[in-house]
Amino acid sequence: MKKNSSFRFRVAALLLLFFAAAFLLPACRNGDPGLYLLAAAVPGIMLFLLLLPAGFLTPDRPALSCVLPLCGFGLLATVYRSPDETLSQGLRCAASLFFLFSGAVLVRSFRPSVPSAFLAALCGLGMFSCPLWSPDLSFSLAAGGMALLLISAAAFLALRLRLPALLVVIGGMVLLLYGQDISGAAVWGICFVLLFWSASDSLLWSGVSLVCAGGLFALFNGFSQVPDGPGTFSALSRIVAMPLLPQEVPPEASADVPPDSLFFLFGEQYGLIFLFCAVLLLILLLIRGASVAQHTRKSFYASVALGAVLLLGLDALFFLYAAVGFLPFRPESFPFLTASLPDLFAHFFLLGLLSGISSRNDADLEEDSRLAMLAH
């Protein structure tokens, strides 16, 4: 136990020193006071979150240890190009922490019942249908809607009401396909089919969900809406041209980069090794999420945790596969390494769900040890 804690302490200390230095270097070069502020604030907030005492609202430390460096990488992506953009990204990450705690509180206090599941479904479907009510909306609430629909579907599955769960999923897919969010519909469809397979006792319902998802795609001509073919939005040449190690001089901004593509900006500035570390951190987060899902005692929590892992993992998978040209979609956003505020909120909300379930698992273990002591 002592060895473990000293190892974790060293890793945390290294992390904090790295980010302090990473912001101090451009601060000394630029002389921008905002960067000096970030050099103090980023390690400070990381230290604060990692040292929070265990309790109801504590984020899951292993998961947080994976996410905080990812957010730090997102800040570093624009630190040389545009310190103002870095400050804005810092404020976005700070605001997203509210959703981390909200997710933890919501999942701990949520009791699966028909009215609560129905309410969550209504909110989620409402977020999906925002582009239909206001076509001029410049951002998408699909990621947040998926998180709420996940809670609703998990609640229905926990109550063994498979048909309402299926209807919730179908409703979500219809709205996404109608709003021409093909990649979102694909992520949601795959996520739910796998969720149904893991939570359902019979293969029949898994098959039904698969047929429904595929049928909806065919009905809305989802396959024909895919533009041209694989590789249309491939950024493989950009990735191949990235340096291996961090560069001193900021690279020229590419005109064809989507404005919120921090993943590519980070890779071009800090190199492929750091980019690989970012992907590895996400993989470690997914493994931690799966471990939390496995150790939970209630099927509702298992479904929510697995759904959170799937939504984050499939988002990353679709992003990377689209970036290398395997999929004919535009790479949207890599989890936690995005400048899109609604996506960042949704990702932190999913992390909050995982943290809440992890703290619930710890509470169950403590209850068990207390009962074992009483028995003796």
């Binding site: 796998l194 397979w197 893991s198 939570a199 006792d201 493989l236 990735i239 191949v240 492929l272 690989f276 992907v279 996400l282 993989i283 997914l286 493994i287 999420g289 799966a290 899902a293 496995q294 005692r297 099927s299 298992a302 697995l306 892992v309 799937l310 993992g313 499939l314 990353a316 998978l317 990377l320 596969y321 290398v324 395997f326």
Partner: protein, 91 residues
């Protein structure tokens, strides 16, 4: 719940392998051009075609016998160095 735990493990494993696969593919895409093993150069492709003894020869020039070579496919007889391969084809 036991079945659910097992299925969660399987799903997580497949997801992690899929993510690693794209990392390996990208590493391969970076490694192969860097090591100069590209097959995309058209001049390299045509040079390999001309030096291929099994490649179809160009038509013989009219008048006089001639023997195929690597550059033109045919040379004058006085510069001939008989090649059993081409004799086999009766050229």
């Amino acid at each position: 719940m036991k079945t659910t735990r097992h299925r969660i493990r399987v799903i997580a494993l497949v997801l992690v392998c899929a993510l690693f696969s794209v990392v390996l593919w990208t590493a391969r895409a970076i490694w192969i051009p860097a090591s100069g093993g590209g097959q995309d150069d058209p001049s390299a492709a045509s040079a390999s075609l001309l030096s291929d003894p099994w490649a179809a020869p160009t038509p013989a020039p009219t008048g006089g016998s001639a023997i195929p070579t690597e550059e033109t496919g045919w040379v004058e007889e006085e510069t001939l160095t008989p090649e059993p391969l081409f004799n086999t084809f009766g050229l």
